[in-house]
Amino acid sequence: MTSSNAAVTTRGLTKRYGSTTALHGIDLDIPRGSVFGMIGPNGAGKTTTMRLLLDIIRPTGGDIRVLGEQPRAGGASLRRRVGYLPGELHLQARVRGRELLAHYAEISGAVRPGAVDTLAERLGVDLSRPVRSLSKGNKQKIGLIQAFMHEPELLVLDEPTSGLDPLVQQEFHAMLHEAKANGQTVFLSSHVLSEVQQTAHEIAILKAGRIVERSTVAALRENAVRHVKLVVSEADAASARATLDAVPGVTGVTAVPNGPGTVALAATLDAHVDAFVKAVARLDVVDFTMEEPDLEEMVLAYYGADVSAAVDADDADGADRKGAER
């Protein structure tokens, strides 16, 4: 991919604060017109990455391109083309919502007349009230409005749904879909997958300053662990078990009594759904259950310690790049 059709590109992006390293060489490619989700536990480096894109902080090493420009060189005119929602939103308290948004409109890209009111109506926030009297969720709506109101080419949203109730979250997801349809690019972060999986096409999982997985939601789903339960007659139990054991990706097959004359075989299946279904089709199946894959569980596995292989690979990769750059 070239940087001209990428909304965001980073290469070997490194950020150190004194002796602690927040980012160990991040490579990101976010195509224009896509919705890209970055997920990771607290302190993984999501906010650091986003602040680097907005030139609020400066990288220790590596390269960043935002809409084809370096954030530092692009300066104010580049930031007018970006909408940003900080992870920790702090708004001036004493002014009314409308007044505050009018101020932000002055220092961002051109805002269409009526855009603010339309957004406020959609999200359901009263702009005539002083900001200090608004709940956390309503303040977050003001934050979303200032990010969306000038229809920026790139939206950088740090944990955008925090504090929003489920109905507003739905409205927010609709706004993301419209932004995508409108050709805008969205880069959003969350600490849980469920917040991004409905909207994001591509995701990156960040842990301790490294990208440990880059994937699409579809690919994650394909590779996710599924719990299956197969009920067969007692007579068929042995052959069913043998069949299951022979299917690639099936593990932990256990048999449990399941009422008169039948046996339930429980197992976990990682990927290869097709092979599994075809193998099972040859049996006399009394009942069959396959649970919806739990992507969250999969992501949590990345958060844990059992991803050292992936981290090492990424680290070696990062080290190579740094070496190559010098």
Partner: protein
């Protein structure tokens, strides 16, 4: 849409209540002190009282000239109550310009918009200086107004010099707070710098008043740069310009660091 100086206008709009309060405070101070001069300072009663005080205290407070109209206005308002009031305002506004905004998390979102660091630094500095200039202008106008009724006998040209020195002195505290806020982003450091420079300046001046062998201390006191040559009596004498040179240098350093460093970390 009007896009001229958005951050300057925002600062002024946010701060007008505070500015109104400070204006009222300055008015109260001036209208309480200055009209007392004819009944108090002008007939020698005041001088008698001053003479009975310990000389070190009198020199510390610069009350030795209090028997004349300009000396009275200088000792009570420009050198003391006005200096204290405007310094408090200056340090508060100076700390608010960057450090306070950064610590409470609002600066991040502002800088994520279409403004440069230099623009933010200069517009917010200008807003603080404009508010201080307003308070100085109010002081100037009230002294002119009360000059005759209170029998102060102050020459307007000398009052211009003194008000300029007054502005330069309190602006220095504000700019120290702005610059240190720009450099560190820490409220306590900015506050400490602004208040510290005022206390330091006053202390060095007061110590320098205690004797001829200590008078050299005043060479290093911004308070002395402003007032040691008694501009309310003598006009444009003394290194009043030095206040503005030091302020400009502080602004330059603050801006250079602020445009380079990480914000909100």
């Amino acid at each position: 849409m009007n896009r001229v100086l958005p951050l300057f206008r925002r600062s002024i709009a946010d701060g007008w209540r505070g500015l109104a309060g400070w204006t009222a405070g300055i008015l109260v101070a001036l209208f309480l002190y200055l009209p007392l001069y004819p009944s108090f300072g002008g007939n020698g009663q005041m001088q008698e009282m001053i003479d009975s005080l310990p000389p070190e205290l009198v020199r510390t407070l610069s009350y030795d000239q209090i028997g004349s109209g300009p000396g009275y206005a200088q000792a009570t308002f420009f050198g003391l109550i006005g200096f204290v009031l405007l310094t408090i305002a200056a340090v508060g506004w100076g700390t608010g310009a960057i450090a306070n905004d950064e610590e409470n998390g609002q600066l991040e979102l502002t800088l994520a918009h279409g403004v440069t660091r230099g623009q933010l630094f200069s517009e917010r500095t200008a807003a603080v200086l404009a508010k201080l200039a307003w308070l100085c202008l109010v002081s100037f106008a009230v002294v002119v107004l009360l000059n005759e009724p209170a029998e102060l006998d102050i020459e307007v040209a000398n009052l211009v010099a003194t008000t300029t020195a007054f502005f330069g002195l309190v602006a220095l505290s504000a700019i120290a707070a702005i610059a240190v806020g720009g450099i560190t982003g820490r409220r306590t450091w900015a506050l400490g710098a602004g208040a510290g420079i005022a206390v330091y300046a006053y202390a060095m001046h007061a110590l320098g008043n205690q004797g001829d062998d200590l008078v050299w201390l005043q060479d290093f006191s911004p308070y002395s740069w402003a007032y040691a040559e008694e501009p309310l009596v003598n006009g444009w004498v003394g290194p009043i310009w030095l206040l503005f040179v030091v302020s400009a240098a502080l602004l330059l350093v603050g801006w250079l660091v602020f445009r380079r460093r990480d914000v909100a970390v």
